[in-house]
Each structure stands twice: as structure tokens, then as C-alpha cells.
């Protein structure tokens, strides 16, 4: 790939790094990353991926911008309230970097469409906000052998890691099944510090870029725990679980599961 004058200037601080160089920047410009969720985690993550010159950035989100999102979802502005998040996100990236081909999906992700959504992408980023979608993404990425960059936040706590299906572990090795609805913290306890997804989302962008470049050591096999209130980062070992229902020795999950449906059955009986 020949860089234009403008690209050489734009990516100069990347190209000058021996770990990136012209070759690495070319890899970024020809890479395809799918960002699932255009909210708190998606915004900082997508911003950095766009600025870094990811060639194709897919963004999936069915939701529209609400005023209460703006405290943390930094790529939407006040004037975007009511617009689709993916449209607002696309405009924000276009302002930073016209090199990026942003592909938007206003779909609600489900077992029906997820394989089609992820199949053409090199790296998948889980920037969602609920358990059913996280399990769906994990399982689909395992079945389709896609690297998955995981990030999650709640109140003041953040978690991040990288799941590589070829090497393990997967999200189900970490947490085999989603919590039953009654046991997730109630919304009175919910809420999130606005900066927290900024920290975790930026870490996700960092890991995605490293996977594409093939440099450094990713978080694969390590669970990064961030406590924003105490300002502590800690790291836990994350091992492939032989009893994992998805990638273990005698798996029990062979198909994609829409957990939400399960919950609705439980709730309406």
C-alpha cells in the first residue's frame, strides 16, 4: 500500500515506532474491526481505533442517543440526542479520520444475525452492556474462531481481557453461565462513573491494535481488574477450564443461545 502525503503526516507518530512502522500502519489500514456497542465502552474505543486508521470499522448498536448517555458516551453530543448511536458515531469518526470506512448496523444482535455480522471481521470488540449479548458474542466468536477483546464495567469496577479461540480461554471459562435475573444488582445499585468506560474502552482499543499488529503481549490469559475508586489495577490468572461448557473437554453448548428468551419464560410464569 502506498501512503499519501497526508497519511504519512497523519500516522507519522505510529510509523516512527519500530513496533508499528509503515508495515504495521498498512496492517491497520487494511484491518477490519467490529465494535459491538456504541455506548460508554464503544465511544473511547472506537475513537482511538478510528484515529489509528483501522481500515474498516463496523459498529453495531440498535439504540438511540439519550441525554443520560452523554456523561460517558463521548462521541455523541447534545445535538445527537434522539439520533441512532451508530449514525452519531460515524459522523464523529469522519471528523477525525476520513480514511476509515465506517459500516453501521442498526440491528439488535441475536443468534440469528451474529454470525453474519462477525464473519468478515478480523477482531471483535465486546463493548456491550448486558449478559445475554456477552454470552452470544463469546460463543459466536468461539465457533467462528475470531479474537475477542472483552471489556466490562459496573459502577466503579472495570474488567478487561482478550479471548483467543485458538488458544483459549473463553468468557465461559471465566464465568460459565450468566447470573439469573433476580441476582444481578438492582438498578438502585447501578450507575457508572463516566470516566470508567473511558479507561476500559481505551484498553480495549489498545489490545485490538496489538492483535492486528502482532506485537507485545495481549491480556490473553489474564483478567485485568480496575478499581476506579481505589485507583488500583490488579491482574488475575485466567485459564482455559477443562469443564468449560463451550470450549472444555465435554462441551454442552453447541449452538448459540438467546438467553433473554429464557429469562422471559421464567418471568412470565
Amino acid at each position: 500500500m502506498e501512503f499519501t502525503e497526508e497519511q504519512i503526516k497523519r500516522y507519522a507518530r505510529h510509523i516512527i515506532l519500530p513496533e508499528v512502522g509503515g508495515e504495521g500502519q498498512t496492517k491497520l489500514l487494511s484491518s477490519k474491526v467490529l465494535l459491538i456497542g456504541a455506548g460508554g465502552l464503544g465511544a473511547p474505543c472506537g475513537y482511538y481505533l478510528g484515529a489509528a486508521g483501522i481500515g474498516t470499522l463496523g459498529i453495531v448498536d440498535f439504540d438511540t442517543v439519550d441525554l443520560s448517555n452523554l456523561q460517558r458516551q463521548i462521541w455523541h453530543g447534545t445535538a445527537d440526542v434522539g439520533r441512532y448511536k451508530v449514525d452519531s458515531a460515524k459522523d464523529s469518526i469522519a471528523r477525525i479520520n476520513p480514511d476509515v470506512n465506517v459500516v453501521t448496523y442498526k440491528d439488535k444482535i441475536s443468534s440469528e444475525n451474529i454470525k453474519d455480522l462477525i464473519k468478515d471481521y478480523d477482531v471483535i470488540i465486546d463493548a456491550t452492556d448486558n449478559f445475554p449479548t456477552r454470552y452470544l458474542i463469546n460463543d459466536a466468536c468461539y465457533f467462528m474462531k475470531k479474537p475477542l477483546v472483552y471489556g466490562s464495567i459496573f459502577r466503579f469496577d472495570g474488567q478487561a481481557t482478550v479471548f483467543l479461540p485458538e488458544e483459549g480461554p473463553c468468557y465461559r471459562c471465566l464465568f460459565p453461565a450468566p447470573p439469573p435475573p433476580g441476582l444481578v444488582p438492582s438498578c438502585q445499585e447501578a450507575g457508572v462513573l463516566g470516566v470508567l468506560p473511558g479507561v476500559i474502552g481505551a484498553i480495549q482499543a489498545n489490545e485490538a491494535i496489538k492483535i492486528i499488529l502482532g506485537v507485545g503481549t495481549t491480556l490473553n490469559g489474564r483478567l485485568l481488574i480496575y478499581d476506579a475508586l481505589d485507583m488500583k489495577f490488579s491482574e488475575m490468572k485466567l485459564k482455559a477450564d477443562r469443564t468449560c461448557p463451550l470450549c472444555g473437554e465435554s462441551p454442552s453448548v453447541f449452538d448459540l443461545i438467546d438467553y433473554e428468551d429464557f429469562c422471559e419464560f421464567r418471568r412470565e410464569d
Binding site: D129, R155, D157, L183, V184, A190, D227, L229, M236
Partner: protein
């Protein structure tokens, strides 16, 4: 033998906001039982009734998942750090306002009660006009977007017309 226990933010309501507490015991389960003595209610958030750690919570001894050591019987020693790491998914609560227009046959059903009971949302009636024939309620529903959506679907399944209140006319 005192060990340090890291408490995740969702459980800090039980430890008076403290992030790191001390506990005594020679195994993980003894540590958890000791925590329960000082912070009543914490054990059921971590363990099933048979004492095993819940599937959506992990307990780490230093940086090692106890499932890969000896689970709740893993031995701890002075100076160890135990971390409790729950599965978190994100999701910030939202408040949305709706007009509910009841069909006559649904007026006598306790639908708002059922919404609060079956879904993880808080309901707040802001104004209402109810007679034997008509029922119009302006309601605020607070919760995670998905929960609100489910609550709305439930109401619609009962024949209620649910219209978002776009302008803030209720306040």
C-alpha cells in the same frame, strides 16, 4: 490467620464502603464464613446454599482462581490476598416516561405492580386519570434499557397502549 479480602464495589454496601477488609481462617470457606460474621449477607452473594461459589462470581487466592486450586477448601496463609470478582456486564439505569392507555378490561388488573415485580425496574406514577371506563397513566420507569423494553412489551401484551412522553410535560 488474617488475610486481606478485596471487596468489589457491588458488595461494598455490605462492608460500609470498605474496599479491603481482613478476615481469619485457614481455608477459603472459613474466610467467607468469617466475613459473614462481620458483614451479614455477604455469604449469600458469593456462595450457593451448599457453600460452593456461585457460577457468576470468582474467588481468587492471590492471582489464582480457586476453582483451579481446591475450590472453597483451598488453603490460605497469613498475608495472602483473596479477591472476589463478580461477573459484571455494564448497563446504566435510565429513566423513561410513558403514557399508558388501558383498555377497559385491563383497568382492574394490577399491571404496574406486576411490572415492578417481574422486571428489574422502578415504577413511579406521575399522574393518572382512572375511572371504570378509561385508564390513562403517566408513568416513569427506571432501569436498564433492556429491562424497560421488556416491561413495555409486557404492558403491550396486556393490551395497554404505551406511548413515550417525548416532551417533559409531566414535570
Amino acid at each position: 490467620m488474617p488475610v486481606k479480602v478485596r471487596i468489589p464495589t457491588p458488595l461494598r454496601s455490605l462492608t460500609d464502603g470498605t474496599a479491603e477488609v481482613e478476615a481469619n481462617g485457614s481455608t477459603i470457606i472459613e474466610i467467607i464464613n468469617d466475613l459473614e460474621k462481620n458483614f451479614a449477607g455477604i455469604k449469600e452473594r458469593i456462595c450457593e446454599q451448599n457453600d460452593q461459589v456461585r457460577r457468576f462470581v470468582n474467588v481468587y487466592l492471590n492471582d489464582e482462581d480457586i476453582r483451579f486450586i481446591d475450590s472453597i477448601n483451598s488453603k490460605v496463609k497469613d498475608g495472602d490476598t483473596v479477591s472476589i470478582i463478580p461477573a459484571i456486564a455494564g448497563g446504566a439505569a435510565e429513566k423513561k416516561k410513558f403514557y399508558l392507555n388501558y383498555p377497559q378490561e385491563a383497568i382492574k388488573e394490577p399491571l404496574i405492580y406486576l411490572v415492578g415485580k417481574n422486571y428489574n425496574v422502578i415504577t413511579n406514577i406521575r399522574s393518572a386519570s382512572i375511572s371504570n371506563d378509561i385508564g390513562i397513566i403517566a408513568i416513569e420507569i427506571e432501569g436498564e434499557p433492556r429491562e424497560i423494553e421488556k416491561a413495555v412489551k409486557f404492558l403491550e401484551s396486556k393490551g395497554v397502549t404505551v406511548e413515550p412522553i417525548v416532551l417533559d410535560v409531566v414535570e
